[in-house]
C-alpha cells in the first residue's frame, strides 16, 4: 500500500509536464470558483450591512434600486433632486421621529462627498443597529469642516487638522472648489460600509462652495471669498435624498403611502430591507449563473485530468504489467491510478487557494474602491468547505475511471501487455 503510493508520486513526477499543465488548469478553475463564491458572499454581506435603523429612504421618483444605490451606496447619481420644502413637510409629519437630509454630487479625489447635518452621526445605523463612532475628533459644527470615513483617511493619509479641497462631480479631474478648502475635524471608526469611503460635510458648506456657481460651472467674474459666505443664506434649496426614522415602526406603510402620494412633487419612499431584497433578486440570477459557470469550469478542468490520465494509460500499459509481475494486485494498480488523480486534484486545489489568497491581497482594495464590496480576510466559510468537498469528490470520481481502466487492463493483460 505505501509502496504503491510512493510509486504513484514518483510516477506522477516523471510525467510532471503533462500533469503540471493539468494541475494548473485545475488550480485556475478552483481559484475562479472560490473567488466567485467569496465575492458573492462578501458582496451580499457588504450590501445587507450597509444600512439599518433607517425606516425609509426618500428621493425623487425613480426606481427603488436606483435610489438605494445612490443614497446608500454612493453608486450612480440621482436624476432629480427634491425641494427643501418637501423635506421639511415630511420631516414635520407627526409619525416621523427624525429625518436627515443628504446632498450628493461632489467628491474629493474620487471619494463621494456627502452633505448632511450632524444628526446623521446620531441616527445612522449599520450592520446590526451599530451607531457610527469617531476614531478621532468630532462631528462638524461649522462650514468648511469635514468628517472623513476611515478608508478615506487611511488611503489619503489624512489626519485631524489637515486641509482638503473638493471637486465638482465625481470625476477626479473635475472642476475644483480650490478657493474654499475644508479642515478635517473628525475621522470615523471603520464600519465596513460605504460610510468608510465618504467625505462628510455640512449642508451649508455644499451651498457655500456653489454660491458663485451656476449650472455646474463657476460664474465668470464672480468669486466670493470663503470668509464672506456667511453673509449669504446658506439654506439649501434642493437636496438629493433623505433618511427617515419613525416613532413607531408600524406606521411605515402609512407614511410610505403618504410620501409616494405627496402632492408637492413626485417623491418615492423605499424601505431599505425590501429594496435590498429587490436588488438581490436582480443580482441573484447573475450571481447563480456566474457560480454555475465557474463550477462548469472546474468540471472541465477535471475532465482534462481524466483525458490526460486515460491517454497516458495506454503508454503505461507495460508499466502496469511490470508492477503486476513484481506482485502488485489489480487492486493495487487501481489504487496507483486513483491516487495519482487525487494527488493532482488536491495539489491543484491547494495551488488554487494560494492563487486566491494572492488575488485577494491585490484585488480586495480595488473591489472595495469601485464596488464597495469588502472582501474579508478569513480562512474558510462553511459554504466554502462544502465547495472544497465537492471539488475533491468530483476529482475522486474522475480518478476512479482511470483506476478502473487500469484494473481491467491488468486483468486482461496478465504479465504480457498486448499493444
Amino acid at each position: 500500500m505505501r509502496a504503491i503510493l510512493t510509486l504513484a508520486v514518483k510516477s506522477a513526477w516523471a510525467r510532471r509536464l503533462t500533469l503540471g499543465v493539468t494541475l494548473c488548469a485545475i488550480a485556475l478553475a478552483s481559484a475562479l470558483l472560490f473567488a466567485v463564491e467569496r465575492v458573492r458572499h462578501d458582496a451580499r454581506q457588504s450590501f445587507t450591512q450597509a444600512v439599518s435603523g433607517v425606516d425609509l429612504v426618500v428621493g425623487a421618483r425613480s426606481g427603488s434600486v436606483q435610489l438605494m444605490l445612490y443614497a446608500v451606496f454612493r453608486a450612480g447619481s440621482a436624476t432629480h433632486n427634491i425641494r427643501w420644502e418637501s423635506f421639511e413637510a415630511i420631516a414635520t409629519h407627526p409619525a416621523v421621529d427624525w429625518a436627515v437630509p443628504l446632498v450628493l454630487g461632489d467628491s474629493h479625489r474620487g471619494f463621494a462627498v456627502l452633505g448632511t447635518t450632524p444628526d446623521y452621526f446620531r441616527h445612522f445605523r449599520y450592520s446590526d443597529q451599530r451607531a457610527l463612532g469617531f476614531a478621532a475628533g468630532q462631528a462638524f459644527a461649522d462650514v468648511f469642516e469635514t468628517v472623513l470615513g476611515s478608508a478615506v483617511a487611511a488611503e489619503l493619509r489624512l489626519e485631524v487638522g489637515d486641509r482638503i479641497t473638493l471637486t465638482h462631480g465625481m470625476a477626479e479631474a473635475g472642476p475644483g472648489h480650490d478657493d474654499k478648502p475644508f479642515t478635517v475635524v473628525g475621522i470615523l471608526a471603520p464600519t465596513g460600509t460605504p460610510v468608510d469611503r465618504s467625505v462628510h460635510v455640512n449642508l451649508e458648506s455644499i451651498s457655500a462652495i456653489h454660491l458663485d456657481w451656476v449650472a455646474g460651472a463657476p460664474l465668470p467674474g464672480l468669486a466670493i471669498p470663503a470668509e464672506f459666505v456667511k453673509k449669504f443664506d446658506l439654506q439649501p434649496k434642493e437636496i438629493t435624498a433623505f433618511l427617515v426614522g419613525l416613532k413607531n415602526r408600524a406606521d411605515v406603510f402609512r407614511l410610505q403611502r403618504h410620501i409616494n402620494g405627496y402632492r408637492g412633487e413626485p417623491l418615492m419612499a423605499v424601505m431599505p430591507g425590501v429594496a435590498l431584497d429587490e436588488l438581490w433578486q436582480t443580482l441573484g440570477m447573475i450571481e447563480q449563473t456566474l457560480l454555475a459557470m465557474s463550477a462548469l469550469v472546474v468540471v472541465i478542468g477535471l475532465a482534462g485530468l481524466l483525458a490526460t490520465m486515460l491517454a497516458s494509460l495506454n503508454e503505461r500499459r507495460r508499466e502496469l504489467a511490470i508492477l503486476r509481475a513484481l506482485g502488485a494486485s489489480p487492486r493495487e494498480l487501481f489504487l496507483l491510478l486513483t491516487a495519482e488523480g487525487l494527488l493532482v486534484t488536491t495539489l491543484g486545489v491547494a495551488f488554487g487557494l494560494g492563487l486566491l489568497a494572492v488575488g485577494t491581497f491585490f484585488f480586495a482594495p480595488l473591489l472595495q474602491a469601485h464596488f464597495g464590496i469588502i472582501l474579508q480576510w478569513r480562512l474558510f466559510a462553511p459554504n466554502e468547505w462544502l465547495l472544497l468537498a465537492a471539488i475533491l469528490a468530483t476529482g475522486l470520481v474522475a480518478s476512479l475511471i482511470p483506476g478502473w481502466r487500469a484494473w481491467r487492463m491488468s486483468l486482461a493483460d496478465g504479465l504480457t501487455p498486448r499493444n
Binding site: 494486485s329 496478465g414 504479465l415 504480457t416
Partner: protein, 235 residues
C-alpha cells in the same frame, strides 16, 4: 513433491487451460516438474502457449483443471490476492525487454521487489548492499546505478532486470526470451551470468526461448510441444 530425491520447485499435474470464450484447448499438460535449483530450458516457437503458461505459473491466470504446485503449495487453490503475494515472495521474472520502470534509477528498479515483498526484503539482508552486489556480479558499472533506467542500453537494462529478479533470493526464476533483444555475442554472456547467479542463489530457473542454440549450458532442455498435448496456436 520430490524429483530424483530433491524437492520440486514446480510441479504441474493434469493442467488444462482454455482462453476465455474459446472452444479450443490452449494448454493440456499431463505432467511437468522442475526440481529445486534445477535450470531448465523450455523451447517453443512464439505463439505456442508460452506466455499463457508463464501467466499460469505467475498466478495471474487460473487453469480450468489440474494443479500447479510451486514449492509445495498448489497456487490454483489460493485466492487472487494470495497468488499475488506468492508471486511477489517467491518468483523473479525477466521479460524480453522493457522490464524496467524507465523513470526510476537502475538501483531503485532492483530494489522494487523488496517494497512489494517483506519476505524478500528480509532475505536480501541489507537491501541496498544486496542490490549493489548483484549489479556488480552482473557486470553493471557503478556509474550506471543511479541513472534513470530509461537511459541505459538494452544490454544494461537486461542485467538490471536480472538483478531485480534475483534480489531477496526467490526460489524460482522465470525468464521469457530475455536475450532476444541482445546481439549474438552478448546473448551467451548474459545467459552465463544469469546461470552463475541463479546457481549462487540456489534458485530454480525456467528459461523460455524459441532459440535452441542457447540451450547448451542448462541442466535439461524440453520442448513445449513434448509436454503440451494441445497443439493449438495462441490467439
Amino acid at each position: 513433491m520430490f524429483l530424483d530425491g530433491r524437492m520440486t520447485a514446480l510441479s504441474i499435474v493434469n493442467l488444462v487451460y482454455r482462453w476465455p470464450r474459446q472452444q479450443a484447448v490452449c494448454l493440456d499438460i499431463p505432467r511437468f516438474d522442475i526440481a529445486a535449483g534445477e535450470h531448465v530450458f523450455l523451447h517453443g516457437p512464439s505463439g505456442g502457449g508460452k506466455s499463457t503458461l508463464l501467466g499460469l505459473l505467475g498466478g495471474v491466470a487460473v487453469p480450468e483443471r489440474g494443479s500447479i504446485e510451486l514449492l509445495g503449495s498448489d497456487i490454483t487453490r489460493l485466492s487472487g490476492h494470495s497468488r499475488d503475494r506468492f508471486r511477489a515472495d517467491h518468483i523473479g521474472f525477466i521479460f524480453q525487454q522493457f522490464n524496467l520502470l524507465p523513470w526510476l534509477s537502475a538501483l531503485d528498479n532492483v530494489l522494487l521487489p523488496c517494497t512489494f515483498s517483506a519476505r524478500r526484503l528480509t532475505r536480501a539482508g541489507t537491501a541496498r548492499e544486496a542490490a549493489t552486489r548483484l549489479l556488480t556480479h552482473l557486470d553493471l558499472a557503478a556509474d550506471a546505478w543511479h541513472k534513470p533506467a530509461g537511459e541505459l542500453s538494452v544490454g544494461q537494462q537486461q542485467r538490471v532486470a536480472a538483478a531485480r529478479a534475483l534480489i531477496g533470493r526467490p526460489e524460482i526464476l522465470i525468464a521469457d526470451e530475455p536475450t532476444s533483444a541482445l546481439d549474438a555475442p552478448r546473448q551467451q554472456i548474459f545467459i552465463d551470468l544469469l546461470l552463475a547467479e541463479a546457481k549462487a542463489e540456489g534458485a530454480a530457473l525456467l528459461f523460455v526461448s524459441h532459440d535452441e542454440r542457447l540451450a547448451a549450458h542448462f541442466d535439461r532442455k524440453i520442448a513445449l510441444c513434448d509436454i503440451n498435448r494441445a497443439g493449438t496456436i495462441e490467439p
